[in-house]
Every structure is written in structure tokens, then in C-alpha cells.
Symmetry: C2
Subunit: 493 residues, 2 copies
Amino acid sequence: MFESVELGQQVDKQEYKEAIAQLRTQLITAQIACQKAPGPIILLISGMDGAGKGELVNALGDMLDMRNVVIQTFWDTSDEEQQRPDHWRFWRAMPKRGQIGIFFGAWYTDPMRRYVEGQADEIALEHDMRRIVRLEKMLADDHAVILKFWFHLSAETQKQKHQKLKKKHKESPEMIKRAMWHFDHYSRIRDAAEQSIRHTDRAQARWYLIDASHKRHRHLRVFTILNKALQICTEQNHSPLVADDVIMDVDTAPVLNSVNLNHTLEPDSYHDQLKEYQSRLHRLIWLAYKKRLSTILLFEGWDAAGKGGSIRRVANAMDPRLVQQISIGSPTDEEKDHHYLWRFWRHLPRAGMVTIYDRSWYGRTLVERVEGFAHPAEWHRAYEEINEFEQQLIQAPTLLLKFWLHIDQDEQLRRFKEREVTPWKQHKITDDDWRNREKWADYERAINETVSRTSTREAPWQLIAANDKKFARIAVLRHTVEQLERLLNEVKK
Amino acid sequence: MFESVELGQQVDKQEYKEAIAQLRTQLITAQIACQKAPGPIILLISGMDGAGKGELVNALGDMLDMRNVVIQTFWDTSDEEQQRPDHWRFWRAMPKRGQIGIFFGAWYTDPMRRYVEGQADEIALEHDMRRIVRLEKMLADDHAVILKFWFHLSAETQKQKHQKLKKKHKESPEMIKRAMWHFDHYSRIRDAAEQSIRHTDRAQARWYLIDASHKRHRHLRVFTILNKALQICTEQNHSPLVADDVIMDVDTAPVLNSVNLNHTLEPDSYHDQLKEYQSRLHRLIWLAYKKRLSTILLFEGWDAAGKGGSIRRVANAMDPRLVQQISIGSPTDEEKDHHYLWRFWRHLPRAGMVTIYDRSWYGRTLVERVEGFAHPAEWHRAYEEINEFEQQLIQAPTLLLKFWLHIDQDEQLRRFKEREVTPWKQHKITDDDWRNREKWADYERAINETVSRTSTREAPWQLIAANDKKFARIAVLRHTVEQLERLLNEVKK
């Protein structure tokens, strides 16, 4: 989930200055207009230690009219607070309609801390998060605009920041101790954050993951998102029941750009590895069958990225009695007559079997979004629906592997042209492919957001560098083999 | 929660015949029109054993065009089903758009059975139910109309039915054994049902509690509700996002009618009991303070039902340092600027203290509903919001006692007139009171529904017969004393 915000994105000084100049006027104008909004605007700031959350609030102070802003930190609970239900302190601090409330951590802090410290397990965390969903829904139904920011740092970046801090605060062992706690618990905190975000990322209260490694970048992201929200807020009509309709489109970080497309593989090495991984895969699939572990491999990717070829290399390694290949095209009439997930539920593998999807339920957030087949509210909702669906698969248990085969535009053009002049490949290139190509940027946005919102701990996306077909095929095979081995070790006979 | 459907309601033969004749044409016409509906219509039939669920389906067969209806029973899971995620069997059986699907128990059966048999605890049951909420939301978002029926029998009625069954099936020990299981587990099943219904009663998938003691009544209720749903369905426009807006108004059973208003209390007995209960209450409130158990007493009732007098009798028994009285009138400007529950969160008692509410958050589903101050979607949503809010109070822990002081229209008229001629009571009667009185029937509906949807195991409504003021005051005191004693025994020091 956090791959997209570990890119270390930067904004140069001049660009920042110009953007800020523009945003300053827009923000203040919108803020004034928003005082008549039907609900409060709640900014919830969470994130890794050392990610600059405090700095952000200072920066917001420079941008907004602070007379209409309330800032709430929630440290140790007071005596007053301990004597009431958990959420009392948050209700007490709630901004009023038209007001901006900046909350640090708020209702997320305690449940996450309990999980990190081992006082709460995954089920307790989920229970707390579901309760938060209901709180946020209640507020959103009453017209609150809720923006939730997670300021993310990679372990490496946090380490660097902490080392700087250590030097700066040599005389403050308390400060160093606190920093070290966060450092020691990094992976558990990351885990808590991922689960919390997945359970509570809802259309009415979205999480925005912020790459917090550089100050100008993270500030600009927050200001831009806040500005968008305030703009919608001022344009919004005041009738009831609008909360669910307000879809705010925010670009997620360009995670696809992080794929290094220069990888290649020599033919000799390719053939050796192909043989090696295919034979291991063959044995593993039989073992999975015996242990009743189902497997789903799901392939998405650009047109001509080589999905078919990769699928064949995987499928050929398996006993055909154990594997079912499903190619997802337009839905049939019968499928259209049901919920969009119905067609995928239909084909779920029996325990121990393998299903390979050539395209998948992600059509909802990719092609259906870009082509306008799904209403914005529908594809926005789909992230949580898909996460929920995949969660049930994983509990079955099923090994769910999701591959995005990535190529760049030049490589696609080369392959399209090759298809046009190669007689046995001509059927593979249609006008649709050229049309889709024109929408490259739209698809890129859709993919970045999909990966960012649906890459979960149990079912992360694998972005496969596929400019070199051989490299891509081996990457897919290797990952499949490794994950099967890992999970088969975990599953009890 | 089930008081409202343990009234043993009956419909006479002639009335039934006429109603059926009318409904038959309406239903079939609506069913045909609904074939173009944007989603399926799902009827979920659950309830107590012996409540006539099977009979209902046969009766539906006489009323509907069964070519467009699918009936799904879910017995033991098949081998095929066991090898997939739990919900697979339901997805597989899902009716298509425009089709009516009649499901027996469906996704509720297994979680409830696990709880009844002690394999799952309350937390596990809640977890399963929250998952069902998400499933039903997903379907409703995709335009499914979901009607959930709980066929209820009181323990007594079930016993009678089972005895008849025993005679009828003397030669079938299997049948008798099954009936006895349900009989033995009655209270646990009732408990499971109450919790399940409370967790899953949502505007997009409402539960309809059916008094199932008499056949004609239960059939007529279901047909009427189905007919309403199909009517809405045919009128509904086909744009996306309508699901939440479809508010179906169905009268709940007249639970208020079950209150016996003839109770009276002689002055001597009244004074003795008043003294006795007040002195016990005084001691208990101090004990609760020491044990940090908070108490909330909430009073609702008809105008002139005697709320003030009852509250005084309770409050006078308590040390004033421990008690806070809050009279809820129109919200202040500041309160209007927040969520409607905010004003109640504000005043929550500290641990060990008592708060007495003269009127309460139930204004949302009573006066705000009747007077049109809240949009139908808002007060429909309020049942779950209030249940959630009260749940948090109870967990604090707080003893939450909710009283409805009930009088009949004649008694109210008598009191109004008395107020008009008694100088020191004249200020208590205003034009508003006379206006409210004209809306008696509307308030009655609102109260019946409120009691039915928010009377939970931990915080049941107490309907107090208040035609005789003395009787009412003692009833309130006695209940308060008994509940405090019960809970103080449970709470550890």
C-alpha cells in the first residue's frame, strides 16, 4: 500500500514558491466561502514519527485564516476524559459547521497504539476500525467533509531523520528515547497503519497517503488536496444526502514511474531459469492441491505488455487438471444482470485448485473508470468492495497474486507496429488498442490509484517490468514460486 | 425489541379475504413492472422455529408469478460449498435484476447457529454481522431491494405450536427432537436474533419484525410490506445512487396498545412504597458513585403524562451532588451547528454520576420526524446511530434506563383542561400542546417504531402506564432500584 509514497518525491524551490502563491489566494477565498458550508471540514493528520506533521500545521497557519480553524491534539487522556466513553473527547472537540478542525491522530491513535504494543490483536484492531467507520459515516451523513492524511516515511528515511534529530537534541534523552521507540517498532506501526487505512478508507472519509520525505512536496500535496475539498465544498449544494456524492478526484503518486524498465534477461539465463521455476511450480501446485490451498493469479497490464505470454509460461508448468484459465472480456447479458462482482464469485476455484485471470475485477477501477462505464461513485466505492472481496478469498485460504505488467509508451508502439506487419499477430491489434493508447494518461492515473488503494499486506500488487518479455516472465514465475513456498510452509496439513 | 411482535395480533377471515383480493392484483401488476427494476428484490425470511416460514412461501406462490421468482433454501453446506469462502453459496444463488429471490435465513443462519451453540461469542457474532452489513450495502448500492423478515413467536406461543406438532408427528422422533432443540434454546436464539437484528438493521436493508402467532396476520404483513416495496420499485427512477434514498414507511406493530392503563395505586400503598424505594435509591446511588457506575435516566412521554412529577420523585431521592438534570428543548445555535448527537455527548455524566434527561436524543425519531424537522432519511438513519451511541454509553459502563410515560387521549384531555383552570398550572399548557395532540396518531406511529427499533437487551424501553400518576411514579422508582441493584452486583468493585 505504501509503495506509492516511498518514491521520495521532491518539489523544487521555485516551483513551490509559485504554487504556494497561487494556492494562498484560492485557499483563503474558499475558506471564507466555506463558512456557509453545511458541515465542518475535518483534517485528520496521522503518520510516521518525524514525518513533519507539526511543521505542516504551522504551514497551514500561514495559509488559512486561523480564526475559523481549531487545532486539536490528543495526548494522554485527562481524568475528565477517562471517566467517559472513548469517543467523548473527540465529540467534545468537534468543529462546528463551516469551521475547519485540524485533528492530530484523533480516534486512530489509541487503537493503533494498542495494536503496536501488542495489547490488541488484528481482530480487536478491526473492531475498533469498524467503529471508526461508523463514526465517520455519521459525521459525513451530517455533511462533514473528512480528509485523512497519512504522512509516510520509509524505514530508511525515518532512520535518517532520526539520526539528524539525535544530533540536534543531544541533551534530551527523553526525545531520543521516543524516537527510538518509533524506530524499533517501525514495521509493526507500518502494519497497523496499513490495516487501519484499509478498514477505514471510505468514499465519505478518504485517506490520502502523503510521501513525507521532503517538506515542500508534502506541504504542497496537503494544500492541494485541501484546496480541492474546499472548492467542492463551496460549489456543493446544501440539500441533505449529498455526502456520498461528493467525489473528490486526487491524483495518487505515480507509483508506476518507480518501475525500472531497463531490466533485461539473456536468452541462456532465461531458459535455465524458466526450466528451474517451472519444475518447482509443477511440484508446488500439486502440494497446494493436497493441502487444499487455492491459488488465484490475476494479470492486468497495458495492451501488448505480454500478459498472454506470461500466463502461458505459468499455466504450462501446471497439471491441466488443477488449473482453470479465465479471460475477462465484456460481461455477458446474464452477468450484466448481477452485481459486477458476481461473475468473479462464480468462477472461484475449489479448494486446492488454481485459477488464472487474464484481466479481472480490477476492470471496475481501470477500464470502466476510464471509459465512463462506471459512475465515479461506483468506481470509488469499488476499492473497498474489492478489498473486502479479496479479504474473503484470502481467508478461504487462497493465495492471491496480482500482477501488473508494465511497459512504456515507446515499447507499446513498437509492439503495435510489429503486430500490424506480422501476419499471425495481426488479429491481436484492433482499433480499440489504438484508442486505448490515446488515453494512456487516464489509464496511468487509474492504475496508480488502484495500486495504491488495493495493494494490501496479504495481496500486494506486483509491478512487473515488462519491456523485456523474458525478464517479465521469469519475474512472474519466480514470485509465484516464492509465494507458494512461503504460504505452503505456513498452512498446516 | 420483540415486545411489539408478541401482541398476538389477529386478522379475521373476512377482512383477510378482502385484503388479499386487493393485494393480489396489486402485487402481480407491480411484480411485472418490477421486472425492469435496476436491481433484484431479495426477501430474506428468518425467524423462530414453527413460525410458519414455509407456509408463507407457499402463500407467496399463490400471489406472485413464480416464473420470475427464485426460492433458495440453505441447508447443510455441500462439498462444493465447503471448498469456497462462506459467502460463495449466496452469491451463486443471487437473483438477477428484476427478479424476486426468496432466501431462507441465508447469510444469517450460520453465524446465529454458531452463537446459539456457543461456538461463537458476542464479539464473533458482531464481527459476522458487520460483514453482513457490508455485503448488504454492496448489494443495495447496486440497486438491490432487500427486505428482511423476522417471524417471531413468544416462548409461550412456540410451546403451544410445538405441542400441536408433537401430536401431529408422533411417529417422527427426528421432527420432535428438532423442535425440542429450538424449545430448549429459545432464550439463546432470541438473544442471537436481537443482537443480529440490531447490528444489521440499516436503512438500505431493513428488518421487519413479524408477529407470527397467527397465520392470516403474518401473511398479510408480509404481503403488504412486499407490495409497498414493489410499488416503490416501479416508481423509482433508474439513476445510480438511489438506494439510500428509498425510504419505505411501514407501520410497526402498535406496541403502545399493549400497555394496560387501568393500573392504579392507593394513596397509602403509594406513600409506603415511595418511602421504601426512595431510601433504597439513595443508598444505591452512593454505591454506584463508589463503584464508578454512571447512570442515565431518560424520560419521554406524551404531553402531560407526568414526566416532571416522576423525575422529581427520582431526583429527590438522590444526593444533589451526584445528579444532574437536563431538560431538552430546542437546540441552541451552537448545538444546531453540530451533529444532533453532539449536545448529548456534551453532557455525559462523569463516572459514577447520574444524569436525568427530560426528553432526549429520541427527539430525532419522535418530534423531529413528526414535525418534519428531520428528513426521512435522517430519522431512519437515527435508529442505528442512537443504538450505536447507547452501545458506547453501556460499555463505559453506564446504566441506561429509558422510560416512556404512557397515557391515553382521554386522560390527556382531562389533564389539559385541568391545567387551563388551575392558576399554578396554566403556564404548563400552550397552543403547542393542543397542536401536538392533533397529531396523536402520527406520534403513536413514531413511538411504536422507535420502541421497536431501539429497545435493546442492554437498554430496553420501559413503557409505564401513567393514567394513574402514583402508579407511574412507583413503577419508575421500582425499575430504577431493581436495575441498579442488578448491575451493581455485576460490576466489580
